[in-house]
Amino acid sequence: MIEVPLHEIAHGRAGDKGNRLNISVIAYAPAAWPIIKEQVTARKVHALFRHRGATKVERYVVENLHALNFVIDETLEGGVNSGLNLDTHGKSHSFRVLALSVQLTSETLESVRQARELAYQREIQPSRLRTMT
């Protein structure tokens, strides 16, 4: 087993509504999904935001999208209403979650990386070629 940042096997986005923050964590490939579901727990995410006063973390498992959705209460230190921090919306915090460590075999990591690279070739390269012609 090796330890890598969640960022290697998942992507995500943060959004806010009122004093609530939501952060999605989406598997890059099917092989990453069981690891994410098992290791990226509400308890671990809560620990990331405890210094900011988070009172509650709800974790939703979105099986059909191979994604988790975390809803975090009271972590915006006043948010857009009265926060003193630069990012009052909390938009940068998706990458705080993606910095969590996960454990997996090097084979799994390699297969997820390949899937990521394959998507790159499938999605990006055709448009590059089109731009050139």
Partner: protein, 456 residues
């Protein structure tokens, strides 16, 4: 039945002004029935509009309205593509007048412009009798003075305006997905209790409402998630079938990308319970949605489920807020981190010595600036040598004076602070506080009217 196309020309107030034209060109080239939507109303934008309207009764709508519509209005009218936007903000009637004037200047003097009103409920509600939305329950008690109170209206009035022949529909506050659902219901004739299709149309609107956020905007992560030509990202187009399933795509020849990843990120954006996304028209359940690649820059979304709409509407209520002040100073080169920390300690002491009535926070930009707490645990724990640090002070207070005096202390570091400080910048602004309340539907009476020349 032929599909119906919806293009999005803006995802927030402040979005790229040149994004709509390629979308309209693609809709025209497709030659199918279509509509354009513009979402320009963030949580605070509307309250700022009310403040502007108090100073000038003809203002209060989206300031970029003429710039957004001028490049596309004539093409949309010529090709029968109605435009729906919440750019009316705090003054939809004035926005309609401005669009009428714009139309006249383009030789389109008989534009049919509909105005949806009824979102402004300041005179209809008593906050003491309403409950606060649970996501805001931790917010402190609200002061008496109220700047704005607007409910999120649904898609019905938009659909009604379109079936009566509107070429432009101007709204104030509506649920963002309603900007797409309205045209879909008007076109396909879906019933208002066909919860499955209303949910599907709401999902389409949710995917489009942030513009480029579904076509490669707010997505790039070099080496992990590449985005081609981010300077010319194409804004989204949904090709919607009569059953509500849709293809998400973008105009040819534009930058960005549409992939299952861009679609999934936007699908969950600002979602809480994925099985219960509450809107005025329907409760959307995303838990059986399928996202599939359907070709290059084409992603098919289907499987949205719906449940009956909630009994209450959400209202965004705005109050005058505190004064926020921010000031920064930079330290670089040998021992920069120690000098920046000394600057922060010095300011902290000065605020105490002068007994300024403010709440304060310090950041060390380059060490920790967005993940940290107001108490600064992360920056205190940081040990890495950093040779370019920007010390930031943020203060807030009920009155502007102590805030301004606090910022002046950062300026005074020029002569009194640690060695080598440079680049002081500071700003003060008055904030708006918003709290969401739940409003029973019977207190709200939305209307549709058509703009007539000479109307005040």
């Amino acid at each position: 039945m032929e599909s119906f196309l919806i293009g999005c020309g803006a995802g927030f107030s402040g979005d790229r002004i040149d994004a709509a034209a390629p979308v309209v060109r693609a809709l025209v080239a497709a030659g199918k029935p279509a509509a354009m939507m513009f979402e320009t109303l963030a949580e605070r934008t509307l309250a700022l509009g009310h403040v502007a309207r108090r100073k000038n009764p003809e203002s209060g709508y989206e300031a970029a309205l003429p710039a957004l519509l001028a490049p596309i209005l004539a093409d949309c009218v010529r090709h029968g593509i109605p435009i729906v936007g919440n750019f009316g903000a705090a003054n939809p009637c004035a926005a309609a007048r401005r669009i009428h004037d714009l139309g006249c200047s383009l030789g389109l003097s008989s534009l049919r412009i509909a105005v949806v009103q009824g979102d402004d409920v300041r005179d209809r509600i008593d906050l003491d009798e309403l409950s606060v939305w649970e996501g805001d329950s931790g917010l402190p008690e609200s002061p008496e003075e109220l700047i704005a109170a607007n409910v999120y209206l649904g898609a019905r009035e938009i659909a009604l305006a379109l079936t009566q022949g509107a070429q432009v529909v101007v709204t104030g506050r509506v649920a963002d997905p309603a900007l797409a659902l309205g045209p879909l219901v008007a076109h396909f004739g879906w019933s208002w209790n066909d919860w499955g299709r209303l949910a599907a149309g709401t999902m389409v609107g949710h995917l489009l409402e942030c513009g480029a956020q579904v076509t490669g905007g707010y997505f790039a992560d070099p080496g992990y998630k590449e985005v081609p030509d981010p300077a010319t990202i194409g804004f989204p187009i949904a090709e919607v079938s009569s059953d509500g399933s849709a293809i998400i795509t973008k105009p040819p020849g534009t930058g960005g990308l549409v992939s299952s990843r861009t679609v999934k990120e936007q699908l969950l954006y600002e979602i809480h319970d994925p099985a219960a996304y509450l809107t005025p028209d329907v409760v959307l359940d995303l838990s059986s949605v399928r996202v599939e690649c359907a070709g290059h820059n084409r992603v098919r979304v289907s499987g949205a489920r719906g449940r009956p709409r909630p009994p209450t509407l959400k209202a965004m209520v705005s109050f005058p807020g505190d004064w926020l002040g921010e000031a920064e100073i930079s330290y670089a080169g040998p021992n920069a981190l120690a000098r920046a920390r000394l600057a922060a300690q010095t300011i902290s002491q000065r605020l105490r010595l002068r007994e300024l009535d403010v709440r304060s926070r310090f950041d060390l930009i380059g060490v920790a600036s967005v993940f940290d707490s107001d108490k600064g645990e992360l920056q205190d724990a940081a040990t890495a040598e950093c040779d370019d640090v920007r010390m930031r002070l943020a203060v807030s207070g009920k009155a502007p004076e102590p805030v301004e005096q606090s910022l002046q202390e950062v300026l005074a570091l020029y002569c009194c602070g640690p060695a080598g400080g440079g680049g002081v910048r500071s700003q003060v602004r008055n904030r708006i506080r918003t709290v969401s309340y739940l409003v029973p539907r019977e207190l709200v009476a939305p209307t549709v009217s058509f703009f007539e020349e000479g109307q005040s």
